[in-house]
């Protein structure tokens, strides 16, 4: 089954804007169409965004949504950090590294993001970046 790592922006846009492609991706997530790779870093980022912008209650719901993904698989720091050396030289912002390392440590097929700046870095040679629109077309 296809494995995809969804960037934080896909969760935020998809949960907030039902008419977006990100929301369509999350609908497929809820259907269990593909395996969703998540990381501890991703959980923290999504939850912190909701806590800051929408309050504690919605942050809790966002956490519940992520935890109940039917075909979800979680990778944590001890595992993704093993890939730091491999990825360091390809990524300009070190704070993006945990997401990229999580992608590699779980043999993901796609990295779905709306962040074009990330997809233009050297790492694009090694990572199959897709926008939510492109991902939906290929799914």
């Amino acid at each position: 089954m296809l494995r995809a790592y969804l960037d934080t922006n896909v969760y935020v846009r998809g949960l907030l804007y039902p008419d977006t492609k990100s929301a369509m991706v999350l609908e497929e997530v809820a259907r269990g169409t593909f395996t969703v790779i998540q990381s501890d870093y991703l959980y923290d980022e999504v939850i912190r965004w909701f806590k800051t912008n929408k309050g504690k209650d919605w942050a809790g719901r966002a956490r519940l949504f992520m935890l109940t993904v039917p075909r979800g698989m979680t990778v944590t720091k001890p595992k993704w950090s093993l890939f730091l050396d491999k990825c360091k030289s390809y990524v300009s912002d070190t704070d993006d590294l945990p997401h990229i390392c999580a992608y590699f440590s779980t043999d993901c097929d796609y990295f779905v993001t709306t962040n074009r700046a990330l997809t233009q870095q050297k790492i694009k040679k090694l990572v199959k970046f897709r926008s939510p629109t492109e991902f939906m077309e290929e799914l």
């Binding site: 934080t8 922006n9 935020v12 846009r13 949960l15 907030l16 804007y17 039902p18 008419d19 977006t20 929301a23 999350l26 609908e27 997530v29 809820a30 259907r31 269990g32 870093y41 923290d44 980022e45 912190r48 965004w49 800051t52 912008n53 929408k54 919605w58 719901r61 966002a62 519940l64 949504f65 109940t68 993904v69 039917p70 720091k77 950090s81 730091l84 050396d85 070190t94 704070d95 993006d96 590294l97 945990p98 709306t114 962040n115």
Partner: protein, 88 residues
């Protein structure tokens, strides 16, 4: 967290269908099937709840999109500061 045990009665047809998918190797056990079904339902309902109660119509403007990315980037920088501790 302790696993909660919930007993449920299923119509024989449903139970037989679950056994069929277990035999086909789609699920390791009947419990795994039920766990999957429960997660799927909760996930779907959570998404609906977000869209109905918090959702904003239309697609975000470019400005809103940039703001979301900028806010995430700020959080990412803070988090990296915390996660980087103890890394090689």
């Amino acid at each position: 967290m302790n696993a909660g045990i919930t007993s449920i009665r299923l119509p024989p047809k449903d139970s037989a269908m679950i056994e069929h998918f277990v035999k086909e190797g789609e699920f390791k056990s009947k419990s795994e099937f039920v766990r999957y079904a429960v997660k799927k339902t909760i996930c779907d309902m959570m998404l609906k709840e977000f869209h109905e109660k918090l959702g904003e119509r239309g697609v975000p403007s470019e400005k809103e999109g940039r703001k979301i990315l900028a806010d995430i980037k700020e959080i990412r920088r803070e988090l990296w500061g915390e996660y980087a501790e103890g890394l090689p």
